[in-house]
Symmetry: C2
Subunit: 265 residues, 2 copies
């Protein structure tokens, strides 16, 4: 086992996640890619990056930098949102924003609003989020980035230009799941890697051909990053090392299942 102190690249069977340090509060119009490059340069033990590394950036700072935010004081909720908010002790203006952003309302009951977003994600509150949007921002919510693949592309290009390494980049967000309590992080944007690893037709350890194994690698990497980042801290990005994703020009839409195929629904 070859472990180097300052450059702890995992061998096979080893994974490490390092949260970037020193990323300041992000505001609309900030050059997020430049902030990330600076943090990559200064976080200990991280450089040099390799093409096997993945930079995971959480949705909130992407949305904020891109100005994908709404000040609720300017929002006039529709009667449906007002009634639902009164019954379930929620903010009618936030519900209004969710409904405006929705391509389809999947469920609106028991205080929970689940929608399908224009990107095709199905999630609680359409990804509209009020927590961790910064101090003195009590009435501001973030929307999902308009095109998280494009956001990831821009960050990847900036990292490549600044550091000379073409790392894969994921944008991550926390989604709920059916049947199981609790949220996990998934990828909502991808650049430079395939979000799925299709192992169908490859032999397993016994030489048996695996027939139905498609690994959601991008989602798994987003999840691993979340464990190091946590939810209530100012750590909005991490490098995941050792996952060895399949490089390629994947798009997050590759992960989204057409409704007709969804046998779990």
């Amino acid at each position: 086992m070859n472990l180097d102190t300052t450059l702890p690249y995992p061998s096979d069977g080893r994974l490490s996640v390092v949260a970037l340090e020193g990323i300041p509060e992000v505001h609309p119009g900030d050059d997020l890619a430049a902030l990330l490059v600076a943090a990559l340069r200064t976080t200990p033990d991280l450089l040099p990056l390799t093409e096997a590394d993945v930079l995971v950036v959480t949705q909130k700072i992407v949305s904020k930098a891109e100005g994908a935010v709404v000040d609720l004081t300017s929002v006039e909720p529709r009667p449906e949102a007002v009634a639902f908010a009164e019954r379930w002790d929620r903010d009618a203006r936030q519900l209004e924003v969710v409904l405006r952003e929705a391509r389809r309302v999947v469920r609106m009951s028991n205080g929970v609003l689940i929608t399908e977003t224009p990107h095709g994600f199905i999630c609680a509150n359409g990804g509209v989020d009020a927590s961790n949007v910064g101090p003195d921002s009590g009435s501001v919510v973030t929307l999902l980035p308009a095109d998280s693949d494009a956001s990831a592309d821009m960050i990847r290009a900036a990292v490549r230009d600044a550091l000379g390494v073409d790392v894969a980049v994921l944008i991550s967000d926390s989604f709920g799941r059916p049947w199981r309590w609790g949220i996990t992080d998934v990828a909502i944007g991808v650049s430079g890697m395939m979000p799925l690893d299709d192992l169908r037709g490859t032999p397993d350890a016994d030489g048996r051909i695996m027939r139905s194994t498609v690994r959601a690698t991008a989602d798994e990497i987003a999840t691993a990053a979340e464990l190091a980042l946590g939810k209530s801290t100012r750590r909005p990005a991490a490098v995941v090392r050792g996952a060895h994703p399949t490089r390629g020009e994947g798009r997050i839409a590759d992960v989204l299942m057409p409704r007709d195929f969804d046998l779990f629904k």
Copy 2:
């Protein structure tokens, strides 16, 4: 940043996953806990363990050690299974085993069989799995362990007795999800940690009270382990360091959502 070469305990914001080395092929009746303890002792850079570490053990070796396997040559499939298998090029005997194990058939169409298991898990093929069950085992499938919490309890006790450290233990398996292609690993058994971290009512980084954040910590840790373990190798267990789960006597049933609450369904 205090990084020690041989004991790379992550600081906050750092996570590491180390696959255990040297675990042999597991057979029914094997003392799995003893095999895991031996691997914990010999895998480089792992000892001493701390109570913040989590040992993740994949379902397959737990099922095999516990004899939760079925030789398909002894299985007589019902006509429904034969018809489905013929239409979709599947093994009727495996389908028969899935149907026998099922508490409820969620979906049986398009070649996919999704059931609810007696434990309350909803998953493809009821967790009955043919891959990686060992050489010369072409007709053997594994079932889910009868009680994965109890399996985790036993492993945890053995590690505590042998190494003097009370680590949390998870049993993991790969499940599909609605709406998104690909499988991710989740926890199907837990010992010594709470599978969910309920952050509702705690302040986020801006002092805002988070209202709906329950983190699926056990599932996230299982997922992170999978990234280091992979699917087609003989690495069936890993230590996840740096996740700092909430210790406690959680049970996997805590994660399972009662059907009436499931607004995603």
